[in-house]
């Protein structure tokens, strides 16, 4: 294992985030605050409690998930796409590093950033609404697992994309709608039965639901199912990355 290479890439990727500290930290804090002003205070005050939790508190896990997914994907996809775009990828490819090491470094850095972001949002939320976390260990586990899974997914997009447009396409057209429709801001029990069934095909439902369970001890679908679905998606992403690397897809012609 070339741990020095992993560390070098990881540190470089983290440094990139610190160079754009304002964008990396201040912007999520502001957008979270806006959500709480709009959904928590303005609209939320007119919505009754869900599962015995005030609406403002109820949306916290969904809100974190929303940011976690989009930032994991955009961080990781940009992280690997940018060196491909500028050509600096040559150095990574010519270095004595294995594919596993490349993934560990890039995905690890992207996931780290997302987790930090998730915790920042959690802290910001705590300023607006009372927070309770019933299963903190599970909460962290879901946070890490989701960040890792979707960073890996973003890494795949970053290798697949052959232009900045494609880089934006998947997060914009697929992830954001899925997250909004995945029960981030409501309980899927509030939906009519037919829509509820449709929603169960949305993988994000399981992420949000499991994460919410770790906060309030109640959820739309079972925690075990949530965990299993996340792990399945992680395994799927790993398989795709393994295939990409074996064939040299878009990296080594």
């Amino acid at each position: 294992m070339n741990h020095r290479a992993i560390w070098a890439i990881y540190r470089q990727e983290m440094a990139r985030a610190f160079r754009t500290l304002l964008q990396s930290i201040v912007s999520p804090v502001i957008s979270t605050s806006l959500y709480f002003v709009v959904f928590g205070a303005a609209i939320g005050s007119r919505i009754e409690e869900i599962d015995g939790v005030s609406y403002g508190s109820f949306i916290v896990p969904g809100l974190i998930m929303l940011s976690l997914l989009t930032h994991s994907i955009s961080n990781a996809s940009f992280g690997i796409y940018f060196p491909r775009f500028t050509g600096t990828i040559y150095e990574i490819l010519s270095a004595p590093v294995s594919y596993v090491e490349i993934v560990l470094a890039y995905v690890g850095a992207a996931a780290t950033k997302s987790i930090i972001l998730g915790l920042i949002i959690l802290a910001t939320a705590g300023l607006f609404v009372p927070l309770q976390i019933e299963h903190p260990v599970w909460m962290l586990l879901f946070l890490v697992l989701t960040a890792a899974t979707f960073s890996l997914f973003g890494f795949i997009i970053g290798i697949w994309a052959d232009g900045f447009e494609k880089l934006q396409l998947v997060p914009l057209l697929i992830i954001t709608p899925l997250t909004f429709l995945g029960g981030s801001f409501y309980s899927i029990d509030m939906l009519p039965p037919a829509w509820r069934t449709v929603t169960l095909f949305n993988p994000v439902v399981y992420l949000v639901s499991g994460f919410r369970w770790s906060f309030f001890g109640a959820s739309d679908v079972g925690m075990g199912v949530s965990l299993a679905m996340t792990v399945v998606f992680l395994a799927l992403c790993m398989a795709v990355v393994a295939w990409m690397f074996r064939t040299g897809y878009r990296l080594r012609p």
């Binding site: 050509g87 600096t88 150095e91 270095a95």
Partner: protein, 312 residues
């Protein structure tokens, strides 16, 4: 085999067909000796960069074998790549990084423990020390080129690939670069460079390989190549201009300049008979007097152009 004899890079029957169907390499055989400067010459699209890219791990081969220090480039990729430094043709740098950080990064990437003293030495050698805290976007083209070399040298490679190292570099800087490359050679590094500039190969290389349309057309010691293929030109400055070449000299295939004051004779300097004695006698007999004469050896460029033309 003595270590001197064993090639440091041994390529046999290497082929590359891209997904587009383009055959960039068609069975290349090539040995590079330890400690030499090997120049790979060839026109655009000849396969120079593909060849380098395969050895360095940027491109997957379609067939054939590449051994570096006796190790297969894929099976032993870690050991192989640790030995190699690559300076690609394109100037690609992470614009927001500083010189110091990016060179330190390269060293770590190749698995070497941090060594600020060595990085400092590399930066000083390449006249980048004053710029160590500058962001890469503040560097000029020539500095960026030197930075790429610094990155490639950061992990103390034994083999250095320079893909068109002086493309777009001004004359003075080119001289400096050559000086630096010679210094590297003296320290025992094997250097493989590709170039368009024949002057560069002529100036630096110990051996020259010519590649054209995916095939190695020739590999030769530079001196040998110059000797073997060197045609010489004899120019006679006439005392009095003549209107046309006299009949008696027709057999010599002379060329008369437009002003009629210069006769040019092309001959093979390695031939058994250069024909110079006969020519001079015949000129004397024809009553033509000359005030001066000069000979000129053909340059590598001419040799190269001839070779590539023959290949078509």
């Amino acid at each position: 085999m003595s270590p001197r004899m064993q090639p440091v890079i041994s390529i046999s029957n290497l082929s590359k067909r891209y997904a587009s169907g383009f055959e960039a390499l068609k069975g290349v055989d090539l040995d590079v000796r330890p400690g030499e400067i090997f120049a790979l010459l060839g026109p655009n699209g000849a396969g120079k960069t593909t060849l380098i890219s395969i050895v360095c791990g940027l491109v997957n081969r379609t067939g054939g074998e590449v051994l570096v220090d006796g190790l297969d480039i894929e099976r032993d990729y870690r050991k192989v790549r640790s030995m190699i430094g690559l300076v690609p043709q394109e100037l690609t740098t992470d614009t927001f990084e500083t010189v110091w950080k990016t060179v330190t990064f390269s060293r770590g990437l190749f698995g070497r423990p941090a060594n600020p003293d060595f990085v400092e030495k590399v930066l000083r050698t390449l006249s980048l020390w004053d710029k160590r805290n500058s962001k890469l976007m503040e560097l000029s083209g020539g500095m960026k080129r030197r930075l790429m070399i610094a990155k490639a040298l950061s992990h103390e490679p034994r083999i250095l690939f320079l893909d068109e190292p002086t493309a777009g570099v001004d004359v003075e800087l080119r001289r400096d670069m050559w000086e630096m490359v010679r210094g590297l050679k003296d320290s025992g590094v094997t250097i493989i460079l590709t170039t368009h500039y024949i002057e560069e190969a002529e100036e630096m290389a110990d051996r020259i390989g010519v590649i054209n349309q995916g095939r190695i057309v020739l590999v030769e010691e530079k001196a040998e190549l110059m000797r073997k293929l060197g045609r010489k030109e004899l120019t006679l400055q006439l005392r009095d201009p003549i209107e046309r070449i006299p009949e008696s000299l027709a057999a010599h295939n002379l060329a008369l300049s437009e002003a009629g004051d210069e006769l040019t004779y092309v001959y093979d300097s390695q031939g058994d008979r250069t024909g110079i004695t006969r020519l001079l006698k015949d000129i004397d007999a024809a009553g033509i007097g000359f005030s001066d004469l000069s000979t000129r050896q053909s340059t590598l460029e001419e040799i190269f152009v001839n070779l590539v033309r023959e290949g078509r």
